[in-house]
């Protein structure tokens, strides 16, 4: 069953009721809906979007777009993909929503013939840069899926083209528009967690990360399973970690100074070139460490970003904040005393030869960061994109977040490949 998400209007109304508006006021997401003048397109002008790359993610973007398209006066003017089955499926989604976009197999036709206001690029990673730069040259705004590009130079070239063309570049880090993160970040930046010493982030799955090939025809292998080949993707790093290093940088309000890492193909030895098991450590100037790992042969721990300060911890993916003080319901004093006496007696029993007592985790069960978390952050990001297009600009901070996350993701790959601790080369600093 599909989740029923809150509309932007409902969401804003709920924020007003719960009093969270003040804390979110400074967020880029609400900024997109502020009453600043429309310098791009007027509210009555239809915003024309084109989706380049209609694979699973491209079609997901399309579906989310249609959840608010009529309210926001947006249309899908064209679709582009060089893989016919994907293009047909995307076209079907448009038809179901009463829209008949043009279709192309070459993104250059989108630019020259359709001339949309903006494109949503959801192609394989290695194709992002060329399409983005060409769109900027033609004066078209770009929403580009993360990670930005396959190489460091391409990532920098995309950013430079964005600056030179003065066109909007929004990178698909949708957590930047997620109210749980916006509220949580506000609390972190206000010092509620105290001094952040460590961020632990992980993304664990238990599947082969393969997509089925049409008729099992191996000639489509690289086109469909591009994420498994180094020529097109850095695997878990660019497809998953990119999101989480962006969250870490956002929480710490700084970029790392160095990264070291190691990785292997441990379980899925099926001819893939990208690692199925990665571990990295990002170091920040103030001494904070972001410890990252990802694997796809065990999903017990799933996905999380744990921001750990001396006063508390935030776990964003599960929408919870924990205190270092044990705020669970206290047992009666006499029971605590009996328990302490028991502990004192039994703790003295040697375990494994030496006198050793395990550290006990804080018992606080935590609290929700925000109560109502039924929303799609990608839909919120797309709504914000449309408003940025109408206003003619987007906060540069958003683009820089996407850029830095993409650069540090690729530096992580380089650190793994070289076995060295790497710093950011001067030429990539913006």
């Amino acid at each position: 069953m599909n989740k029923i998400y809150q509309s932007r209007r409902d969401f804003l109304r709920n924020l007003a009721i719960t009093g969270s508006v003040a804390t979110l006021a400074a967020s880029p997401w609400l900024g997109a809906f502020s009453n600043t003048p429309f310098k791009g397109k007027g509210p009555n002008d239809k915003v024309r979007l084109s989706v380049i790359g209609t694979g699973i993610r491209g079609r997901q973007l399309l579906r989310l777009l249609f959840t608010f398209a009529s309210e926001a006066n947006v249309t899908v003017s064209s679709l582009c993909d060089n893989f016919a089955p994907h293009l047909e499926e995307a076209l079907e989604i448009c038809h179901l929503n009463g829209v008949k976009p043009k279709t192309y197999t070459d993104y250059r036709d989108v630019i020259e013939k359709d001339k949309p206001d903006a494109v949503l690029i959801a192609t394989p990673l290695h194709e992002h840069a060329r399409a983005t730069i060409d769109c900027f040259s033609a004066g078209i705004h770009v929403f580009c899926e993360k990670s930005m590009a396959r190489t460091l130079d391409d990532t920098r070239a995309m950013y430079d083209a964005h600056i030179a063309s003065n066109r909007i570049l929004v990178v698909g880090h949708q957590r930047l528009f997620n109210p749980v993160y916006l509220e949580g970040m506000q609390r972190i930046h206000n010092g509620e967690l105290g001094t952040i010493g460590q961020i632990r982030a992980y993304w664990h799955r238990n599947n082969d990360w393969r997509r089925p090939l049409p008729n099992n025809d191996m000639k489509f292998e690289r086109q469909i399973n591009w994420r498994l080949y180094k020529e097109y993707s850095a695997g878990l790093l660019t497809e998953l970690m990119s999101h989480q290093i962006q969250v870490a940088n956002w929480a710490l309000q700084q970029s790392p100074v160095s990264v070291m890492g190691t990785a292997s193909i441990r379980f899925w030895r099926d001819g893939r070139e990208v690692h199925d098991n990665v571990a990295l450590i990002y170091s920040y100037a103030d001494g904070t460490k972001c410890i990252y790992d990802s694997m796809i042969s065990n999903k017990k721990y799933g996905l999380e970003e744990q921001i750990m300060g001396h006063l508390g911890t935030i776990e964003f993916e599960t929408n919870r904040q924990y205190s270092e003080k044990d705020e669970s319901i206290k047992a009666p004093g006499i029971q605590q005393m009996i328990s302490d006496i028991e502990n004192k007696v039994f703790d003295k029993l040697p375990i494994g030869g030496a006198s050793w007592v395990p550290e006990i985790a804080v018992g606080d069960q935590g609290k929700k960061i925000i109560e109502n978390d039924q929303f799609s952050d990608t839909a919120l990001q797309l709504e914000a994109l449309v408003n940025f297009i109408r206003k003619g600009s987007a906060p540069e901070k958003l683009t820089k977040e996407g850029y830095n996350a993409s650069i540090w993701t690729l530096l992580g790959e380089n650190a793994i490949d070289t076995g060295q601790e790497l710093k950011m080369p001067e030429k990539y600093i913006i």
Partner: protein, 79 residues
């Protein structure tokens, strides 16, 4: 069947031992409330624990007194 006769002095002694055990258990509860900064309602709500601890203390006192009694007997016989 022969009646067991408990002298009044013994009954008084045991009642005193039980009362002392209850007072000690009660004071332990007061101490734990202060130490762990919990609610004074526990003076009443934790009465079950207090009675339980009092019984333990009383049993300990019985065992100690029995040991003393046995030791005295042995010591007196030797003399």
């Amino acid at each position: 069947m022969k009646d067991i006769v408990i002298p009044a002095a013994r009954i008084k002694k045991e009642i005193a031992a039980v009362l002392i055990s209850l007072i000690i258990a009660f004071l332990i509860n007061v101490y734990s409330i202060i130490k762990y900064q919990t609610s004074w309602v526990e003076l009443f709500s934790q009465i079950g624990y207090v009675v339980f601890i009092a019984i333990i203390i009383y049993i300990i006192s019985v065992v100690l007194r029995a040991l003393i009694y046995i030791a005295k007997k042995v010591f007196v016989k030797k003399l």
